[in-house]
């Protein structure tokens, strides 16, 4: 493995803390991983490079200082462990999505579902789908947890669909059964 990396280190004025938080959130959203308490790392591609460049413009406009590098590891083991760090973080986020999807499936199985809770369940489903899309975009090293999260979400979609679609048919079927 010979991964080209992008490194970012920055300093911001102590106040406002809102700004510090915004930058931190942005980096997390990009899927950047922080090493040694202050160096942010992303694997290099056209998009990640652009992301770091715009972010550094924002930081500088707000009175901060930024250093950006493109770098290659001298030791292969370093690449492997960095990639593992990315994978671990993706893995955790996929696991959270899988848990949330399973919870939702359980809620959907609890019948009967009132119209108000149907709306709520659909809303949560949309959020999960969006979450999964984001996760896939920042899954730089193909974390295996993606499969689990996707299948949990699929199950959840099916459960919700089964409880919400064509309630008339459901009732009829039950009536016939009795």
């Amino acid at each position: 493995m010979d991964t080209p990396w992008l490194l970012c280190s920055y300093r911001l004025p102590r106040e406002p803390s809102r700004l510090r938080l915004a930058v931190w959130r942005r980096l997390r959203r990009l899927g950047a991983v922080m090493v040694h308490g202050g160096l942010w790392v992303l694997p290099r591609d056209h998009k990640t490079r652009e992301d770091f460049e715009w972010l550094s413009q924002e930081i500088e406009e707000r009175g901060g200082e930024v250093l950006l590098w493109e770098a290659r590891s001298l030791a292969t083991a370093q690449d492997t462990s960095l990639a593992a760090g990315f994978r671990t973080e993706s893995e955790e986020r996929y696991a959270e999505l899988a848990v949330a999807a399973e919870q939702l499936a359980r809620v959907a199985r609890r019948r009967p579902l009132k119209p108000a809770s149907v709306e709520q369940v659909m809303q949560r489903l949309r959020l999960l789908e969006r979450g999964l899309r984001l996760e896939r975009r920042r899954d730089y090293f193909r974390a295996p947890g993606r499969v689990t999260a996707e299948s949990a979400l699929r199950t959840s979609v099916e459960e919700v669909r089964a409880r919400t679609a064509a309630p008339g048919k459901e009732r009829r079927r039950r009536a016939v059964g009795h």
Partner: protein, 139 residues
């Protein structure tokens, strides 16, 4: 006319290049420079460069700034702008399904097409296609 941007283009810049050539300047030539100063030295109009008018402003990506600056406006372009915005800025402002796909395709093309001018040629047809797709209801 010469238009200048940074090298290693992704969604926003490839989309800008497409819109420039298709709607603004049919004979557009493209050059690359790391910053605004470099663009001026080349004597071109800068886009998607830090500090350029055709850049990121008030939450807009460069493609949106370009459409605005040249008053390019139709429903299909607006839809395309949402996709480009989401693929580029990724701030959940629009929930366009095509954005993740476009991001993946252009990122991947960036890995195999090393030359930005060639990347523009390849993505040109791609944006033609997306634009045609978004225009279909209007025809």
């Amino acid at each position: 006319m010469l238009w200048v941007t940074r090298p290693n283009c992704h969604v926003d810049r490839t989309a800008c290049a497409w819109a420039i050539r298709r709607f603004v300047d049919r004979d557009a030539a493209f050059g690359f420079a790391p910053d605004l100063e470099g663009a001026r030295a080349l004597g071109g109009t800068p886009f998607d460069l830090l500090g350029a008018e055709l850049g990121h402003h008030e939450g807009r990506c460069s493609f949106e700034s370009l459409l605005r600056a040249y008053r390019l406006d139709d429903p299909a372009l607006r839809e395309l702008a949402e996709v480009v915005h989401e693929a580029d800025v990724d701030d959940d402002r629009f929930h366009t399904l095509e954005a993740s796909g476009l991001d993946a395709v252009i990122r991947g093309l960036g890995m195999v097409v090393k030359d930005d001018l060639e990347l523009f040629l390849v993505t040109h047809r791609l944006y033609d296609g997306l634009y045609a797709w978004f225009s279909r209801t209007a025809t």
